[in-house]
């Protein structure tokens, strides 16, 4: 991983862009350790969206007046930014969705329903987020395809030696995996899986929701067929995400939603579909949000993904070292150099919800729960974990306060 000394980011300086850190309680800002769930938004994104709404807003792709042209240019400009961010070959292959979840559902429904049948195998992993798990489980059941999973080892890393056994179960048609686990931070070997999927004649579907904010993504280097990610996890607004798909696959698929914008012509007898990507963008999209998504990509790119990755690595090392000093703490997942800025752990005999509640008294915000990865929780033998996750504005003091808070949890519960 790229932890070489690239340009270092100055988190303390970047925090000036985030108004939430001006809000103090007992003289301290929130120690926001829940960025894997959703990130805070910098002024640059919020100001740009306000400016867009105030001076460039109209519906897109319709009006011939200047405002509509400006709005369309803003919206389509964001599509180009998404394309560049993931090194996709063409903007025609970039579809705006409501979220990464909707993007993955689009593939499961529009590709899966049409192409799967009994005897086929859909392969997911034991550490998949429900967004890339439940749609495939549902579509597999509907089409009679088998639903197989790649197990993980005790460090939370995929056991690729299980692949031969899975291939023996039928025609592998779909392999779906997250590039980074949202619960453990594990960086998964998607290139290897994509190569294996293609050997089987399967498509490779990548959930990059947790990877895109933290490391460079190149869909051509990954060798995948579909890739989904969202805006709100990388400093952009919620309500918008993106799906990239190979053009020939997208062209062969029927639409996912029907309505305005996605048609070429409609008559009482028949309807024909619009060209890519509009075939998959029925209805008025989240226009200003897509625009803000583009601004967020600019912001993150300017800070630099190598710098973000290196910064988060330092914080992960600090956190794992500090947690190792606390008796009764068990950290899940791989070593620091094989994960992004996520640390999930449990404190013996205290439920994560209670941990999070007491940490909140210290104005430390963590996530407690199953993180939409219940099969993974079952594998780890826990109902839930506490998760601390970082981003470009996270600072070492956030982690110091986490550790102080954990000592208070132990005191309260007498453990």
């Amino acid at each position: 991983m790229a932890v070489t000394q690239a340009a270092k980011l100055d988190a303390q300086k970047l925090r000036a862009d985030f108004a939430v850190f001006d809000d103090l309680a007992n003289g301290k800002p929130v120690a926001y350790l829940d960025s894997a769930s959703s990130t805070q938004k910098p002024r640059q994104v919020l100001d740009a969206m306000r400016e867009f709404y105030e001076h460039s807003y109209a519906n897109v792709h319709r009006g011939v007046y200047t405002l509509a042209e400006n709005a369309t240019a803003g919206y389509e400009g964001a599509r180009e930014k998404v394309r560049a961010y993931i090194n996709a070959p063409s903007t025609r292959e970039v579809i705006f969705t409501r979220s990464a979840t909707e993007a993955l559902n689009l593939v499961a429904y529009a590709w899966g329903l049409e192409n799967l049948e009994p005897g086929d195998v859909v392969v997911i992993t034991e550490l998949e987020h429900h967004a890339n798990f439940v749609p495939w489980q549902f579509i597999a059941k509907k089409t009679g395809a088998e639903f197989a999973h790649i197990p993980i080892d005790d460090l939370g890393e995929l056991q690729l030696d299980a692949l031969d056994g899975i291939a023996a179960r039928g025609n592998v048609k779909v392999v779906a995996n997250n590039l980074v686990s949202n619960t453990l931070g594990t960086i998964n070997p998607v290139e290897k899986l994509a190569a294996w999927a293609h050997e089987q004649g399967a498509i490779m579907v990548v959930d990059a929701a947790q990877a895109a904010p933290h490391k460079k993504i190149d869909v051509q280097a990954l060798g995948c067929d579909f890739l989904a990610f969202s805006s709100h996890k990388l400093c952009g607004p919620s309500g918008v995400g993106a799906l990239w798909g190979r053009r020939e696959l997208l062209e062969g698929m029927q639409p996912f939603n029907f309505g305005g914008e996605m048609i070429r012509s409609v008559s009482l007898e028949r309807t024909s579909w619009n060209e890519l990507p509009y075939k998959f963008e029925a209805g008025t999209p989240a226009i200003a949000e897509a625009y803000g998504f583009g601004v967020a990509l600019d912001y993150v790119s300017e800070v630099g993904l190598d710098a973000i990755e290196a910064h988060e690595h330092e914080l992960v090392v600090q956190t794992m070292d500090a947690l190792a000093e606390i008796e009764g703490v068990r950290v899940f997942g791989p070593p620091a150099d094989r994960r992004t800025g996520i640390v999930s752990f449990e404190l013996e005999n205290v439920h994560p919800h209670d941990v999070a509640q007491i940490l909140n008294w210290e104005n430390v915000a963590v996530r407690a729960g199953h993180h939409c990865t219940q099969p993974l929780m079952t594998r780890l033998g826990v109902a839930a974990t506490t998760r601390a996750s970082f981003y470009l504005y996270s600072i070492p003091d956030d982690i110091d306060r986490l550790i102080t808070g954990l000592r208070k949890v132990k005191e309260t519960f007498g453990v």
């Binding site: 439920h351 919800h353 209670d354 909140n360 407690a368 729960g369 199953h370």
Partner: protein, 143 residues
């Protein structure tokens, strides 16, 4: 923000020493349920003498609030009729818990009560609580 009395002694005592904990075998009614927000799990086991709950136990894992509340619940409902408990307002349990709960924590607190009402529904046909109606995925958690 700080509320040191949240984990008051009574709650921690029920959490660490849950009453009526374990499996009742045989039981006349059982149900299990999860809180999808945080993965709290509760199973309840009930025996009846006619319509009266003569014995009750529970098992589960989850936060202090969910487990302590279910422990308290077993003490409240023993000796009462199924129809009485099925219509029992959640405030009766919340008063016993006695701490202010945010909407998220409220779900933890009433998980056991909901699961008990599901068990009563299955055994005695009493009404299901609102939050358990229409829960019919592939794999019913109230199965």
């Amino acid at each position: 923000m700080s509320d040191e009395s949240f984990y008051r002694e009574l709650i921690l005592d029920h959490y660490k020493n849950p009453r009526s904990h374990g499996v009742l075998e045989p039981a006349d009614a059982t149900a299990e349920g999860q809180n999808p927000l945080c993965g709290d799990e509760v199973s309840v086991y009930v025996r009846f003498d006619g319509d009266v709950i003569s014995d009750i136990s529970f098992e589960g894992r989850g936060c202090a609030i969910s487990q302590a509340a279910t422990s308290m619940l077993t003490e409240i409902v023993k000796g009462r009729t199924a129809s009485d408990v099925a219509t029992m307002p959640k405030d009766e349990l919340l008063d016993e818990i006695g701490i202010p709960l945010t909407p998220i924590r409220l779900k933890c607190a009433i998980l056991g009560l909901g699961v008990l009402k599901v068990a009563l529904h299955k055994a005695k046909g009493t009404p299901l609580p609102d939050e358990w109606r229409g829960v019919d995925g592939d794999d019913l958690t109230i199965g």
